[in-house]
Amino acid sequence: MFTHYPIKRSVLVPMLLYVQDELGYLSDEAIAEIARRVDTTELEVRNVISYYSMLRTRPIGKYNLQVCTNISCMLRGAEEVFDHCRKKLGIGHKGTTADGQFSLEEVECIGACSWAPAMQVNYEFHEQLTDEKVDQVIEKYRNL
């Protein structure tokens, strides 16, 4: 990846995301190692992490339900979908279930406006949601 750019630092944002995909979150050790590889300080790396909404420094559940509640989704019942998820999983915004399987997050527009309401579970899109469909999606991941 380093060869794609004239400066090392350019790999930082994708590298952080890929490392997070592997580890589940950006641990202190990971941050130190990334800082070393891109020739910068840990502070600089943390500064970048804090800017991007997908990057996190704490572990979360194995499957992260990210429900969009922005306007297009809101108009088609996203708040009810989010509320259904909350009740179903017994957790709130940015919460994680006790067994560490699921996390829930209310997120901003994920680019599924014409197929609203929608959510992403990790990177996978689930669209045109209803309460029943949400139940199916949760069951699917529970049994994986």
Binding site: Y51, C113, S114
Partner: protein
């Protein structure tokens, strides 16, 4: 995967290959793939730019800047390398078109990047894709690899002696990065904070070199213009508004979806006919014509043609093509609140009017919607928004202010209906995940003191 729709009025240019498996390079080549680049390789750079100017193609990202003109701003001689940057950070609420292009026709974007490169004699292109679109990044990476394997990218492309490298790059969740200078910062591995202009990116951009930044849809149109000719493309739209556009119909309609329609299509027809009308037999209340940052239109303002100039005259913008239809059972105060909550979340915090303005407006709107509003709040909301306009580094401040001002102006009576502790007249359910200040008497209590 996103469901495709169609309508007889559609004119398919950029969506021509949707649903035909064109992400596969063999299939893409069968569908006239990579012919445009070969044509462009035989042309002089200035002729490519002239063709683009003739097409009247205007930027599909939101600002609607003429693409040919943008390319012509890049200096011919530059001591630093020049770059082409494709903006796939699509995150404007109501917009979901780039996703379809990247999914169904990734090679057309690569072609667009190469042709842009040829027009300014650049040898490097980057395709930036938002982090949430991981499956699209995978599709794009495969497409780039296939193009390299066939000699369409890399050294001596198509045996022409011209070198061109193209790479994809992942974001990690930030609306602000869709702003061109913040996009460059992000690609340089920094926080996506906008740069002050001048200098403009065409002169000093990525890594200090002259840079062309175009939206995915803009670049995906380029090969079609090269093959069909600028004049043909211009003829599809209205004067000064060349071509077609992907309109993302969403919200309270029966048939939401992404439709490719010529610029200058009637908005009422778009809602009633193309998108199947307002759902559940309800009436139209408002329309957001081009993504959440554009001022809303009232139901009696929709008999207009959808092009950049008409919407400008209406005090709004064509924006990113995200048409959000709002029905008469929706509370506009809540709508304004949800829009503001988004901008408050996405403000990068670099300049004060945006950082503080969006935060104050969000807090005021939350309190207001929960029934804790006083009459002067309405003017305050408008006053605060108006004072954000034009006072920020980048357009995010304007993007937050413009819809808010239009909602207060056009739906003032709905704000008044929330006064004196009255509950929201539209609230049918008890769902409320926003941190609401519970019922209080605004005459005797300061909500903020009470909360602590």
């Amino acid at each position: 995967m996103a469901v495709l729709v169609n309508h007889p009025d559609e004119v398919r240019v950029v969506s021509r290959r949707f649903g035909q498996g064109a992400a596969n390079i063999h299939r893409y080549l069968e569908l006239d793939g990579y012919k445009a680049v070969q044509k462009a390789l035989a042309m002089q750079p200035d002729d490519i730019i002239n063709e683009m100017k003739a097409s009247n193609l205007r930027g599909r990202g939101g600002a609607g800047f003429p693409t040919g003109m943008k390319w012509s701003f890049v200096p011919k001689q530059s001591p630093k390398p020049k770059y082409i940057l494709c903006n796939g950070d699509e995150s404007e609420p109501g917009t979901c078109k780039d996703r379809l292009i990247l999914e169904h026709d990734p090679h057309s974007v690569i072609e667009g990047v190469i042709i842009a490169g040829l027009s300014v004699q650049s040898h490097h292109g980057y395709i930036y894709i938002r982090g949430e679109y991981r499956y699209l990044l995978d599709i794009m990476e495969k497409a780039i690899q296939d193009a390299y394997a066939r000699g369409f990218l890399g050294k001596n492309i198509f045996g022409s002696g011209y070198d061109f490298d193209c790479f994809s790059h992942s974001g990690a969740g930030a609306y602000e990065v869709g702003e061109e200078s913040a996009l460059m910062e992000s690609l340089e591995g920094k926080r996506g904070i906008p740069r002050i202009r001048p200098p403009f990116p065409a002169v000093v951009g990525l890594y200090g070199g002259p840079t062309i930044i175009n939206n995915v849809e803009t670049l995906a149109n380029v090969p079609h213009i090269m093959l069909g000719g600028g004049e043909w493309y211009a003829g599809l739209g209205t004067p000064k508004n060349g071509g077609t556009r992907l309109f993302c119909m969403s919200g309270s309609v029966n048939k939401p979806g992404v439709y490719e329609l010529p610029l200058g299509y009637n908005l009422r027809k778009m809602i009633d006919d193309v998108a199947g009308g307002v759902w559940k037999g309800r009436k139209l209340k408002a329309v957001v014509p081009g993504g959440s940052s554009t001022p809303v239109l009232k139901a009696d303002e929709v008999d207009i043609t959808m092009d950049f100039d008409t919407l400008m005259k209406m005090g709004s913008f064509l924006g990113s093509g995200g048409v959000v239809v709002v029905d008469d059972q929706t509370c506009m105060v809540k709508f304004a609140l949800r829009v503001m909550k988004f901008y408050q979340h996405e403000s990068c915090g670099w300049c004060i009017p945006c950082r503080e303005g969006t935060d104050w407006l969000k807090k005021t709107l939350i309190r207001f919607h929960a029934g804790g509003g006083v009459k002067r709040d309405i003017d305050n909301i408008q006053y605060l928004s108006e004072n954000m306009l034009g006072r920020t580094f980048c357009p995010l401040g304007d993007a937050a202010a413009m819809p808010t001002i239009s909602i207060v102006k056009k739906f003032r009576e709905e704000f008044e209906a929330h006064l004196e502790g009255r509950p929201c007249p539209f609230e049918t359910s008890t769902v409320e995940q926003l941190p609401v200040l519970t019922a209080f008497d605004h005459r005797s209590a300061d909500p903020w003191r009470r909360a602590h």
